[in-house]
Structure formats: C-alpha cells, structure tokens
C-alpha cells in the first residue's frame, strides 16, 4: 500500500488531530444515543419495536429460504436418552380427563372434526430419533413416534387448510398455544406424536397427543393438543407474546 506523507506545521497536525478526535467523540455519542433511544422505544409483543421489526424481517427471509428437504440429523435408537427432560407444564392443568379426550380439528369452512386417539393411531406410524433443541440452549437426543402431520392432513383431506399459511395449536385448557408456519408443519419430520421411547406418551410429556416438530425450538412442540386450526394470519403464540421470535425456526 502506498504511503502518503506530508510535511505539516505543528499547528496543522494539532488541528487535524483535534478534528479527528471530535469525530470519534461524535461517533461514541451517536452510539450511546442510539442505544438509549432503542431502550426507550415502545414494545410490540414484549419486544422493543425496532427489534421486533427486524425479527419479523428475519422470519420472512428464513421462511422464504426454508427447504423441506433439509432434515434434522437422526440418531440410532440406543443413542436416545431414557430420562427425557420435562421443562414446562404450561397448559397441563389438573382435572384433565384423558378418557374423554378427542382432538378438535377446526376445518377451513368452520366445521369441527373430533378425532380419537385410536383413529390417529390407525394412520401410518413414523418414528424419529433426533436432537431436541430447547430455546434455552440445551438439547437432548430423544425418541418419538406418531403420525406425520402431512400424512394426517392427507388422510383427513385438509387440502384447503394446508393451503393456508399457518396452523394454530392449543391445549385443552387454552393455557398454552403456538402458531406454526405451514411449511414447517408439512416438513416430513413433523409428527402428531403419541409415543415416547416406544411407549405411550407419559402424562408430563403431553399424553395423549403432542407435537414434535424438529425444525423448531422446543417451545413450539406443544404438549397435549386440544384444538388445531388453520389461518392466513398468525395464530396466537404464548412465547411470542412474551418477547420471543414468532418463527423460532431451526
């Protein structure tokens, strides 16, 4: 690189130095000001509005780039843990009666189907052993069984429904709820899950039916599905309302 040199008076050197440091202080002041300004912004869904806007842009970028052929790494059965971590019990309120449970499936025309566990178990069974990733940062290789959501949708003729952009899931007590983009729902590893480690789902893992969706963080793997519905606008999402990213895609 060429070096440019100049012969200057001491006063010229001093002035150039002062001017440059004035710019540095302006830069520091602008940084501090921007940070303080950001912290004072109103929130949208518990996240500072400017940050929320960028998170939404991130969502459109990464859902646009989403490739259904990319699969979560799978493992051998013996690699799955036997003690599966239970990290949350939102929506798992007491007084739930498993015997009377049926999945409420709200169709696009407003009609509801009520589907029993036995009917769901008759659909093609799929197993997956993958590294379950919690938004907190831990992960665990776990073993699940159930029916692919895409198989379920085919069987129940959810043609119009799967053309919509989102699916919404709620627990029977409506305490916990998630919204999911349809591309992630139709991913081949997404299961309506009724088995863990080749046994029926334990109560604290969402018996009788939960979602397993390896392309998302654990917060989206709703336990004890009560109602499923479809829409073109974002269904309510529990953690989104508490400041997290809506998409949570992996």
């Amino acid at each position: 690189m060429e070096k440019t040199q100049k012969i200057l008076t001491a006063a010229q050197v001093r002035n150039k130095t002062l001017l440059s440091f004035l710019f540095l202080f302006l830069f520091i002041a602008a940084s501090v000001f921007t940070w303080k300004w950001l912290q004072k912004q109103p929130t949208e869904q518990a996240a500072l509005k400017p940050l929320r806007k960028v998170l939404d842009v991130n969502e459109s970028i990464f859902s646009g780039m989403f490739n259904s052929n990319r699969l979560a790494k799978t493992y051998r059965k013996e690699q799955a843990v036997s003690k599966v971590r239970v990290n949350g019990n939102y929506g798992m309120s007491e007084g739930f009666d498993p015997a009377s449970w049926k999945l409420t499936l709200v169709k696009a025309n407003g009609d509801s189907l009520f589907i029993s566990l036995d009917e769901i178990k008759k659909l093609p069974r799929t197993e997956i052993i993958f590294n379950f990733k919690c938004i907190e940062g831990w992960s665990q290789v776990t073993h699940w069984g159930g029916v692919r959501f895409s198989d379920f949708a085919k069987k129940y003729g959810l043609v119009e429904e799967t053309q919509l952009q989102f699916a919404g899931l709620r627990t029977p007590d409506n305490e916990y709820y998630v919204g999911l983009d349809m591309k992630s729902m139709m991913h081949p590893q997404t299961l309506l899950c009724y088995e863990m480690n080749n046994a029926p789902l334990p109560m604290n893992q969402g018996y009788p039916l939960r979602l397993i969706i390896p392309v998302k963080y654990g917060v989206k793997h709703l336990k004890r599905i009560g109602t499923m519905f479809f829409s073109n606008s974002r269904p309510p999402d529990y953690w989104y309302e508490r400041g997290y990213d809506y998409y949570c895609g992996l």
Binding site: L8, S20, V215
Partner: protein
C-alpha cells in the same frame, strides 16, 4: 515542522471503530442468552476451577431471566456485525492490504522476537512494515475468529437448514461450545489489544483515529522506518509544492 505519514485509511478506521459497539452488543446479548443454559466450566470430573459464570458475575451484570431480550438483540445486530466484517475482509482483499496483515514465513520467528522485546528480554526492534509479526498473527487470527464466530453462530441458529455446517463443526452442542470459546478468545484479544495500544503510545493510538502517524523529519529519521529514503521528499521540496 512535522512529517505525517498516512497509516490507516478512513475505511479501516470505520470498520475498526464500528466493531467496538457491535462486539460489545453481541457479547452482552450473548451473555443474556448463555445464562439460560450456563453449563460451561474450566475443570475436570467433579472439580471446577472456574464456572462460566459465577453467580456473583451474573448478578452484578443483571443477566438472569433476560433470554428473550438477548435473542432479539443478538439476531438484529448479527446482521450489522456480519456486514461490517465482510466489508472489512473485502476491503483488505481489494486494497491489497491483506499483504500487510497476513503472516509470512518469517512471522513465527519474528513474533517470538516481538514478545521477548515487549517483555524487555531482548534489545533491538524487530523488523516491521505496517505491522510487526506478532500483530500480523494476532490480526489475522482475529479475522479467522470472526469468521469462526459467523460460522458457529449460523450453525446454532439454523442447525437443520444448515445441517451440513453443523455436522462439520462437530454437531449442535459442539458448535455452541465453539461459539462460546470464540467469545472468550475475543474478550482476551480485546484485553491484550487495549494493553498493547496503551503501551504503544499516543502516536499509534492517534493513527487509528486520525489516520496518520507523526514521524521525525527525514533528516532525523529512525533507522527502523521501513520506507526507502529515496521515496521521501525533503521538507524543502514539499514546502515549495
């Protein structure tokens, strides 16, 4: 009269100073995220020498229960950090300035001299152009660390869509650990960098702000000044210019 020599271009100075708030925000938001699963420690078996991080540290910085805030900040400022870093690397390539930063075959030996010199164990200034050998290794290292930051970050951000990258880095949990280790290394680099800048003195610090260094007039030039004397016009010539 004084002789000033251009040392850092305006672009370099912008890239450099932007990194300061960006790395601060990325590190800060990273700490908020890491707290939610703070499993790393120095030690072996049940023996812990240093827990990352001690409760007093978490409490002093008010880190607990701010995961959502940390993630929001991290996934916004990641773009600016990445763009600034990519522009910096592109600039180094197109301005050919990478030649002054990349270590060469002498650098390892010379870097040892620099260390001995800095510790006052060896007399005589080690040879250098814009940067000495230790600086070349450090600054190239920090660029590699930045690239590593980006890659490990991408792997834990999109471990399914980028499953190949995640696999190359040793899997999801390793990628997270690598991302953490790189943060620690960045912090150590920062500390050493500050100490070195303080030891190098005002003229050097000013060059990263104003762009130029003030050197003695040609007549009293230091022998370590690398520019061939023939290229340096005399003060007399310039004054007539």
């Amino acid at each position: 009269m004084k002789r000033t020599v251009k040392k850092h271009s305006l672009a370099i100075r912008w890239f450099h100073w932007l990194n300061f708030p960006l790395l601060a925000i990325m590190t800060w938001s990273g700490l908020l995220i890491y707290w939610a699963n703070d499993i790393y420690k120095l030690g072996w078996g049940n023996k812990t020498i240093l827990k990352f991080f001690p409760d007093s540290f978490n409490k002093a910085l008010n880190l607990p229960f701010r995961l959502a805030e940390g993630m929001a900040l991290h996934f916004v400022f990641m773009w600016i950090f990445t763009i600034n870093g990519l522009l910096y690397v592109l600039y180094l390539i197109f301005s050919k300035e990478y030649k002054l930063i990349l270590p060469n075959r002498h650098s390892l030996k010379e870097a040892w001299h620099v260390i001995l010199h800095d510790l006052h164990l060896r007399k005589g200034t080690p040879p250098q152009k814009k940067y000495n050998a230790a600086q070349r290794i450090a600054y190239t290292g920090v660029i590699i660390m930045g690239i590593g930051m980006l890659l490990t970050g991408m792997a834990i951000y999109k471990p399914v869509q980028l499953n190949w990258l995640c696999a190359i880095l040793g899997g999801y949990e390793w990628a997270r650990a690598e991302h953490f280790i790189l943060t620690i290394l960045f912090t150590l680099f920062f500390v050493v960098h500050i100490v070195q800048v303080m030891m190098a003195g005002w003229n050097n610090f000013r060059s990263m702000v104003a762009g130029f260094e003030v050197l003695p007039l040609k007549e009293e030039m230091d022998v370590s000044e690398p520019e061939p004397a023939a290229q340096a016009p005399t003060s007399h010539n310039l004054n007539n210019h």
